[in-house]
Symmetry: C2
Subunit: 227 residues, 2 copies
């Protein structure tokens, strides 16, 4: 029995939800609040971060670690659709991009947006004003990441190579969180936009796109597959 | 032919040097300056970070990605001394700690110390004063990490389980960088100290402990195996 501790807007949780869906895996979902660290969650993951996957008694912490765990325990069943595919060099390229999006993109873009536009308002009595400098930095940085995505898909069919891999779902997960807040300048990078349209049409994306933060509606194109 | 692009004080580079040594692998070492991003390095690793491992034509970027690559290409030769050992759950625990030390510990401790105490002075014309707030944060945070190491080795023989793993070398690599600057309060956590003494005595540690930053001597105990 799989149980995922997640938060809806958290890009790392989104990545794992997409990965579970691609593996055809059902799970029980336990929603955590990003604005607090429950003691029970800290007992599962001393870092206090999401997502955490429980597989019966096993506790697997963190997006990249969960990706490797899913590949090691369920990857072979996917055959040629395996998300960490190929030889060790090709796998290293997918892992490099997993770190890029779950690490660098998060540090430079999604962490700022989720903290300033969601966590600060979600805290009890949360009336801290968003830090406009942080939001401005995220909006500047995302342009550079979109350009990098356009660059990668101009050379390859997908981000990590010529097959769909964990790299695509990590990038799409972070972009979907930023897109909820209307902070992705899609029209500046049409290659990145058409790659995202392909990933966004995967069935596993549907539940993510249907969820709403109360009082914070996403832009009209957010859930539109032909945006 | 393996080639490692590294910087001496960089904890992620130290981790990979220790991992190469444990695998009995020879490599050519190319020292990079942490204070500048050479164009040739950016062409190898668009993130501009160290370390980068070249294995003939393959380019493997980043400490955790290199660890998985070494395990996948050379791990079996180590037999029972494999550094990413065991079943998928045990491997996930080693990877969780790899992220802990190469990610969280770096963000909270070593990045501050290396930036403030080394990179700022190494820049051409570098006379920027160290940010004392950042150094103070690193010194406060390291206590919490040392306590966590003591906690782990009170339950297990090594950090990731009852065998030496990549987790030990990641933690020891970061601690050795902090220790160079005299910023590890060893006497507060004797369990962590005796675990570190065991890892520090591995032959692969010797070259690291013999290197010096011109004008910045380490404390007397730094290279002492019975510190």
């Amino acid at each position: 029995m799989l149980v995922l501790h997640y938060a809806s807007i958290d890009p790392h949780s989104r990545f794992v939800r997409l990965a579970l869906a691609e593996h055809g895996l059902e799970a029980e979902f336990i929603e955590e609040r990003l604005s607090e660290r429950r003691r029970e969650l800290l007992e599962l993951n001393p870092a206090g971060t999401l997502p955490v996957l429980r597989d019966n008694d096993a506790v697997i912490c963190g997006a990249n670690v969960i990706a490797d765990y899913l590949d090691e325990t369920r990857g072979q069943e996917l055959g040629s659709r395996r998300l960490l595919p190929g030889n060790p060099v090709e796998r290293a390229e997918v892992r490099r991009l997993l770190h890029w999006f779950n690490g660098k993109f998060y540090d430079e873009v999604t962490n700022y947006l989720v903290t300033e536009k969601f966590i600060k308002r979600a805290r009890i009595g949360g009336d801290a004003a968003p830090d406009v400098t942080a939001i401005r930095a995220a909006k500047a940085n995302i342009r550079y990441h979109l350009r990098y995505i356009s660059h990668l898909v101009s050379k390859r069919d997908f981000l990590g190579g010529d097959w769909l891999s964990f790299a695509d779902f990590a990038a799409a997960a972070h972009l979907s969180s930023a897109d909820y807040f209307g902070d992705v300048p899609w029209d500046e990078e049409l290659n990145a936009k058409s790659w995202y349209a392909r990933i966004k049409s995967r069935p596993g994306f549907r539940p993510l796109l249907s969820e709403r933060i109360p009082g914070v509606p996403p832009p009209p194109h957010y859930a539109d597959l032909d945006f």
